[in-house]
């Protein structure tokens, strides 16, 4: 049996762990500008990569990472190679700025078609920047292959996958034929630790870079969001600090205060 071909779509985002005030909105209210925080691989896509690497270890697979953006930081995405992915394809073009979810999915779809063979396509459940959570499903619709949303575990059997997926009341086990697109939830586990040595070891590994032209995109399909405005989320509340001589007294005083204010 040929090794499974796994494609993982990964987005570069500003580190979501950055403090709230590191995300500024430009004066026109149309762009979010991360200040002083580094780009990282979208953590949900790292979950997808981790799942791909576990499948590779268990069943044997070739793992290819695709990322797209108007600019991409190679060292950031090389982390995927250091973690154990085999190939890295970067789709970079100024045309890729501010694209709608559909257009992003279209570019990734064209790149996947160009790769040609795939058994399993994995994406994170959503990106930590715009939090849409739709790109993976769009790609699956475009490729006209089955989609399983929110996986926490994947097992491979002959010709199909068994996926443990989240739903509103718990989880389900579903079976889908290969090729299949699976979006991955954070319940699947964090990406393994990547050492500086491992990063250094892949620093010279070749990376494939494609532009819109290489992908033979139809530019009419590249649409940008109509952003009406952006506002920093500003809800802050006035905190009444409950005091007391001891922690027990603070606890008791909290109860009294909540009663006094008719909260309970």
């Amino acid at each position: 049996m040929n090794p499974l071909q796994i494609i993982v779509c990964a987005k570069q985002v500003p580190d979501p762990e950055g403090p709230a005030d590191a995300f500024e909105v430009n004066p026109e209210g149309k762009k979010v500008i991360p200040v002083g925080i580094p780009p990282v691989i979208n953590p949900y896509d790292e979950n997808a990569l981790e799942l791909a690497l576990r499948i590779k270890e268990q069943y044997g697979a070739v793992v290819t990472i695709i990322s797209m953006g108007e600019t991409l930081a190679q060292p950031v995405l090389r982390k995927a190679l250091a973690a154990g992915a085999d190939n890295l394809i970067l789709l970079i073009d100024p045309l890729f700025q501010g694209l709608t979810s559909q257009s992003i999915a279209y570019v990734l779809y064209k790149a996947i078609r160009r790769i040609g063979s795939y058994d399993l396509i994995l994406t994170g459940r959503q990106a930590s920047d715009w939090d849409f959570g739709v790109t993976g499903i769009f790609i699956g619709e475009m490729l006209q292959i089955p989609v399983v949303h929110l996986a926490q575990k994947i097992e491979i059997e002959e010709g199909h996958v068994l996926v443990e997926k989240l739903y509103d009341n718990g989880y389900q086990v579903v079976k889908a034929p290969i090729p299949v697109l699976v979006t991955v939830s954070s319940e699947s586990g964090e990406l393994r630790y990547v050492s500086v040595q491992a990063l250094r070891a892949v620093s010279k590994k070749p990376v494939v870079i494609c532009t819109a032209k290489d992908l033979e995109l139809d530019e009419r399909e590249l649409m940008t969001w109509q952003i009406f405005n952006l506002n920093k989320f500003g809800e802050k509340r006035e905190c009444f600090f409950v005091e007391g001589e001891t922690l027990e007294e603070k606890g008791e005083n909290l109860a009294l205060k909540l009663r006094q204010d008719a909260i309970i």
Binding site: P16, A20, F23, V32, T100, S101, Q102, Q126, S128, W130, D131, G133, V134, I137, E141, P146, V147, V148, H149, L150, L166, Y167, D168, N169, G170, Y171, Q172, V173, V174, K175, A176, P177, S185, S186, E187, Q226, I227, F228, N229, L230, N231, F233, E235, K236, R237, C239, F240, F241, V242, T246, L247, E248, K250, G251, L254, A255, K257, L258, I263, I264
Partner: protein
């Protein structure tokens, strides 16, 4: 059904969310926001019910909406994203709605993109407010982005405007006295088009976080079962004061497998709007706090005075919860 007047109607279509045989609360919130849009565009409030044996359900919705499309089909009993997408697409093509409102649940995040793709339109997920742009009539959709740090308002220009709307951020529609028309609509779906088959269904503990009046939530500060027990103790005591009290958690407690993921509150978890939200050992990241945008009062117990939670809380106690919470419980018992 093809006369002009029919198509001139400006329909706002709400997808009714079922919980088995009953109607999920998000449905009434969707009807609430739908009613507001209907008023702005002088339109018709419509609802779609998918399922099997859904007459009673449709009757209840008829108190709130003008037209109720009853998609009664044996294959629609259980949620199946591919079949539901096909059915909804067919309904959209037939009834030509201007706006389609879908609850932002895990299942619907699997459904809505398929419908949008097939209708050839954009989709805005996780909206917290909607309005019509004066003049253009386009739909303005506000949604938290960057983990809740920014609110973005997107403009949808191509109809139907399809959105998923976040639970627990707006009030449900007020009591209804309409006598809406129930219109049967039989979708053409068949089982063989479903290429994903269900093997088993594991229900995790069913909770009522989305209906809770009080929630006690733990975060990174809760280190073990012993700590969690103290929170559960507070949940029990609060039942003296509120009908529905639930235990919640932020992401770290779920990742540590102390609490099932069905109780995770935040961006990727449950949304809640309790009267009182008690956050214990929770730093207050916006990814978490965005899940309780609608909470009336927030109480924080945290041993770090610098924790961000104190900026978004109404009441704060600085100190170790292991000592504060038992004393709080004891006093609440006595009051």
């Amino acid at each position: 059904m093809k006369d002009d007047a029919y198509h001139r109607n400006r329909r706002v279509l709400v997808l009714v969310e079922r919980e088995g045989p009953s109607i999920a609360p998000i449905t009434f919130e969707l009807l609430g926001i739908g009613k507001k849009i209907v008023f702005e565009i002088n339109g018709t409030l419509c609802a779609a019910v998918l399922g099997q044996h859904i007459n009673d359900l449709s009757e209840r919705i008829a108190l709130f909406a003008d037209e109720i499309y009853s998609l009664d089909h044996p294959l629609a009993d259980e949620f199946r994203p591919d079949l539901y997408a096909t059915a909804l697409e067919q309904l959209c093509r037939e009834t030509n709605p201007q706006v389609v409102l879908i609850g932002c649940t895990l299942n619907n995040l699997d459904l809505a993109p398929r419908v949008a793709h097939r209708m050839g339109v954009q989709l805005i997920t996780d909206c917290i407010n909607l309005s019509i742009e004066s003049g253009s009539g386009h739909l303005l959709c506000a949604k938290p982005v960057f983990g809740g740090k920014v609110i973005a308002t997107f403009k949808l220009e191509k109809k139907p405007y399809i959105v998923t709307f976040r639970p627990k951020v707006i009030d449900p529609i007020e009591s209804g006295s309409k006598r809406g028309k129930i219109i049967p609509f039989t979708p053409v779906i068949n089982g063989s088009s479903a290429n994903v088959t269900l093997i088993k269904n594991i229900q995790q503990d069913r909770n009522q976080i989305n209906k809770a009046e009080a929630i006690v939530s733990g975060g990174r500060g809760i280190k073990d079962e012993g700590g969690l027990e103290k929170l559960k103790g507070l949940v029990r005591v609060l039942r003296k004061y509120f009908d529905i009290v639930e235990l919640g958690a932020s992401r770290p407690l779920v990742d540590a497998h102390l609490v099932p993921s069905s109780r995770q509150i935040g961006l990727t978890g449950e949304k809640a709007a309790p009267k009182v939200y008690i956050a214990i050992g929770i730093s207050g990241s916006l990814q978490h706090m965005t899940g309780v945008l609608g909470a009336k009062k927030i109480v924080a117990i945290n041993n770090s005075p610098k924790a961000y939670i104190f900026q978004v809380a109404d009441y704060g106690v600085i100190g170790d919860f292991e000592e504060v919470v038992p004393a709080l419980c004891k006093k609440l018992e006595e009051l």
